[in-house]
Amino acid sequence: MKMSKMNREEIVEIINNFLIEDIEIEQESLKEKAFLKEDLGIDSLDFVDIVVVVEQKFGFKIKPEEMSKVKTLLQFYDYIENKIKEG
């Protein structure tokens, strides 16, 4: 599927899948309000692996300085969606 044609639901599904499969976060923890660090236990090393997976799944690199502003899962979905829209 062409990335720019992806809708929100598809983006969320891809993100949730890699958070479950690659980062091994429990499915039931994936709530929009969940804080990435405090609730999902994602630490600074995990963020590096998230950068790697995002590059593999979406073909662009997220910048660590931008990611530092992303606190919740909802913000993460928004961030990825905006990056895709920006092309």
Partner: protein
């Protein structure tokens, strides 16, 4: 000086992935050597290698712990799990009691090469991933295991080529003798992937007897044509004697002697003088004479020069007592950085079950090896005191003496 005993062992190798399997292979003279087709494709002279299964650690370790572990670290984890269980220890114990870790390792090539390839492709270091640095360093085993098991004592890696594992046990024993530690998780690990041994193969050091892989590694045999690389990991729990007794631990043996030397001559060629000096120093350290030793587990890797120099050295020190000798590398191949630790485990298994494992594939010893009492067939014998040799590139030599209590 404190006394140092061994209270737990674990092994993950090409002749078995636990003590029982390895003990049976040693007794039967079973080889773990096979062919890795990737090596031929990559440009190796020889595709021969010890065949070691990769463990599945999902469910045993968290993602973070697995991401940071390279191949040799996975083997080391498996060997350490077995050793700690054997010694009646675990994370609960280490959270309350201080213990150290010293492990022999001298490469983590696959991790380095794969990171390099990722960066070449992506032109971005972040895309190497978070585990790359922790997998790539020589100290990867000690940094990983110390965090997995919550170890809070001495913590570093010993790199001494093919004597790494042996020096690790010797140094561990010194730390305990001096009263600096009560317990140290020791061992040696060796990666077996095709990326790790290519440059060694390039020296024409490996056997090319591909027609019969299990006959390829033939220490001391007149028709040997080189070593077979191998790997895995071996863990040995060292403990201060009184501490072990107080804990009610099972005791395999005491480390009574550690001898070391450096040849100071050639980067790859061994020396009979340096090897003999390490053995002599181990005997002096143990206050024993050559005739006190019941069995020698030789370093002999099946290279033409190496085995000859070791045979000369053993004959020089033990010639008068005709001490039984075998190299287990006919079965295991050369387990390199791990060998000094694994061969202590093999020797302890022999001591426990009163047999000497065979020096397989010895059809006709060469002229110098003929002088030795080489055990070609499994032989039952009570073993009270044994010596294990390990020598490495750069002329580093180590000899350890184990005594049953």
């Amino acid at each position: 000086m404190k006394r140092v005993v061994i209270t737990g062992i674990g092994i993950y190798s090409c002749i078995g992935t636990n003590m029982d399997e390895v003990r049976d292979s040693l007794h039967k003279g079973k080889s773990g050597i096979g062919i890795d087709p990737k090596r031929t494709e990559y440009g190796y002279r020889s595709p021969l290698t010890g065949i070691v299964p990769l463990p599945d650690l999902k469910g045993k370790l968290s993602r973070r712990q697995r991401v940071c572990l390279p191949e040799e670290g996975e083997y080391a984890f498996m060997a350490t799990e077995e050793a700690l269980k054997d010694a009646g220890l675990g994370v609960d114990y280490f959270e309350k009691n201080e213990a150290g870790i010293l492990y022999g390792n001298d490469s983590s090539s696959k991790a380095v090469i794969e990171s390099h390839e990722a960066c070449l492709e992506k032109k971005d270091t972040t895309l190497m991933g978070s585990g790359a640095i922790f997998q790539s360093m020589n100290s990867t085993v000690t940094m990983n295991l110390s965090t997995i098991y919550k170890l809070r004592g001495i913590n570093f890696t010993i790199s001494a080529a093919c004597a790494s594992g042996s020096h690790t046990l010797g140094l561990g024993a010194l730390f305990i003798r001096l009263g600096l530690q009560d317990m140290i998780v020791c061992g040696g690990a060796q990666e077996t992937n095709y990326l790790s041994m290519a440059s060694f193969d390039g020296l024409s050091a490996f056997s090319t007897r591909v027609d019969n892989p299990q006959k390829a590694s033939r220490p001391f045999d007149k028709n040997r044509d080189g070593l077979v690389p191998s790997g895995g990991a071996a863990t040995v729990i060292l403990e201060e004697y009184e501490h072990a007794v107080k804990r009610g631990a099972k005791i395999y043996a005491e480390i009574v002697g550690y001898g070391f030397s450096s040849n100071g001559v050639h980067i790859s060629q061994p020396s009979n003088e340096g090897s003999a000096l390490a053995m002599t120093r181990a005997l002096q350290d143990a206050r024993l004479k050559p005739s006190d030793i019941d069995y020698i587990n030789a370093h002999a890797t099946s290279t033409v020069l190496g085995d000859t120099y070791e045979a000369m050295a053993i004959d020089e020190v033990f010639g008068a007592s005709k001490t039984p000798v075998s190299s287990t590398k006919g079965m295991t191949g050369h387990e390199c950085w791990m060998a000094g630790a694994s061969e202590v485990v093999y020797t302890l298994l022999m001591m426990k079950d009163s047999f000497m494992a065979p020096n397989i594939n010895l059809e006709e010893p060469d002229d110098i090896s003929k002088k030795l009492n080489i055990i070609a067939k499994t032989t039952d014998k009570n073993l009270d005191i044994c010596l294990s040799n390990s020598f490495g590139f750069g002329g580093t030599n180590s000899a350890l003496i184990l005594k049953k209590l």
